[in-house]
Symmetry: C2
Subunit: 403 residues, 2 copies
Amino acid sequence: MAIIVQKYGGSSISDIEKIKFVAKKVVERKRQGNKIVVVVSAMGKTTDNLISLAKQISSFPPERELDLLLSTGEIVSVALLCMAIENYGEQAEGFPGYFAGIKTDALHTKARIQKIEPSKIIEEIEKDKIVVVAGFQGISSENAITTLGRGGSDLTAIAIAGAIKADICEIYTDVEGIFTSDPNRIKKAKLIPFISYEELLEMASSGAKVMQSRAVEFAKKYKIPFIVKSTFKDGEGTMVKEIELKEGAVVSSVAIDENQAKISIFRVPDRPGIAGKIFSALGQAGINVDMIVQNVGRDGFADLSFTVNINEIEKTKNIVEKIAKEIEAEKIITDPDICKISIIGIGMMNQPGVAGRMFSCLGKNGINIEMISTSEIKISCVVRKKDGEKALIELHKEFIENK
Amino acid sequence: MAIIVQKYGGSSISDIEKIKFVAKKVVERKRQGNKIVVVVSAMGKTTDNLISLAKQISSFPPERELDLLLSTGEIVSVALLCMAIENYGEQAEGFPGYFAGIKTDALHTKARIQKIEPSKIIEEIEKDKIVVVAGFQGISSENAITTLGRGGSDLTAIAIAGAIKADICEIYTDVEGIFTSDPNRIKKAKLIPFISYEELLEMASSGAKVMQSRAVEFAKKYKIPFIVKSTFKDGEGTMVKEIELKEGAVVSSVAIDENQAKISIFRVPDRPGIAGKIFSALGQAGINVDMIVQNVGRDGFADLSFTVNINEIEKTKNIVEKIAKEIEAEKIITDPDICKISIIGIGMMNQPGVAGRMFSCLGKNGINIEMISTSEIKISCVVRKKDGEKALIELHKEFIENK
């Protein structure tokens, strides 16, 4: 007998037929002799619809009330899935997040889990019931409903799996697992059977739409292994777990992020504190900066380039223009026609020549590299947006198909 | 400064524009120097839509999960109304039923309020906030969400008004108050400025669609006065309160119920226990019987007639047929072409001649009376359905317009 936590996302339960399908799947798993906790998201586009209602009242709806509003979406899923499970003859117990013992801080719309008190969940699975928990939500110490940010149901599932010492946490989604690249774009993309938390995190920050990063970070911190697999297709999926650094580890995936834009500031005075000033101002405005490149200073000046999400480019430009004036920088250029291409693989940095091989591959294909950034397990390059597709295909050939 | 509880039903907040209108109304009332608690129903047809989702899973969805599902409708209203109130510059505090201290028994889908713990509500209105509470819902001692039955938000409002010792409870709805008869059918129907709990209860059971009876019973039991008035039109509305029996009190309203059907059983053996057998069986099947008439026995047999809701006539017939066979009654006739016409007024029974005046009025207009039943404050007659409209008009003339 195993204790299993399963999570089903919004696309897996977007209508009643799918809810029935999921219920059947859950019940079968239970009858194989397992104890099951299911975490569900809101059905299909429910959360978007609720947000749109709130926006009709106020462009910036108060976050506390927004959380109360959004929390209803997952509760609807919980109630319906419980009904469907009981229809198949098993007993179900539905928990909104606040009854499931998910205690968070009071940072509404992006609350952090502080503690899970899983006694009620454990009590009910001990009674042989299937427990269904509303994902994405918790309760603050002030007894207000909180939500964990977009995709927060993954976090709910992983945190509960950790708290009840589940044998495995299964994240069900509309893809078959984690691939070496986007299978919609790269026909030869392969399913990765095992991947480390770190690689998955780098993939997420490289533009691969996989899972909420906070959920993966939480899993990494508490060493909770989980599987990403398809709700509707059979298959082994991808196991995400601690993987020891091996000599000779290779590139595990190639990712593209086409939602980046580049901002360059020319002739920035090359003295301490200037970069800090710029990036603190952006941070305060809630703008996430991704890659940052500063060239070597010359004559007491340097050129500074960085990338942000393409939706934040105007906001970023306004902030940067003010500072540029203060520090008497020469000019600012914004460039939305770029993309970021990344190769990811644990231990890559210990493999001499991986970076060189990447740059050569791009060069051989006539693709110019505009920015480079590296981490322990990732190398990212900014290239022209029009070159992105080709870069993705060629790098996947070079590192995955031909390896 | 007064403490005011206001309740807005689903039709008063069926879209975002209406929610904004209600918010403005609430804020204005607050700024007149009052402390306000608002109770809201689910928006428009939300509850019906949720029920239809549940019915797609199971014709008889489990009631515990159904309550969890339905409770989300009012929570959405709470969150949106709070946002709209804050948009007008006042602070709002939203409470799902379980946070508002509404403790119920565990009779899911028709739970009864056992206790209100209003300390949190009081705490927040003392902080000068407008408190918005989800109507229709509470929490059982087993920590499950319960609902109070259709129209339960009226009950929530009245119960909270009692618990926090509000100066007044205002029930906002889509009509201007309680009328002497249905204003859609009787042009000369007049708004009743004051009415007793008892009369309102009799009106509800006589077919007038006014308010949930349980809410009125609760108000009567704890002597909580309330006002029924229109959300969108100005006006004084109708105050419902304890009214002392006065000599010479008159008929206050005339009501028609066209959703009744009559069942007659002929040649029922006239011995003890037979009627009990029939009506116990119907009670166990959850069928509400309204009027019952048994004629004087002859040769050891009697004829028995009663009325039920027209939707239950088939179910009733099936049950009664089995018993009729057992007791060897002669035959059963069901008759859906009837309606019930009632006059209601406190102290009516102490006014000799009211009943006679009613029967004469009907007779004078060629309307045959098929059944009669009376209570302290009501006289009801069953007549042909085709005569209902005329009976209503003539009785309203006789007792209200010409009085």
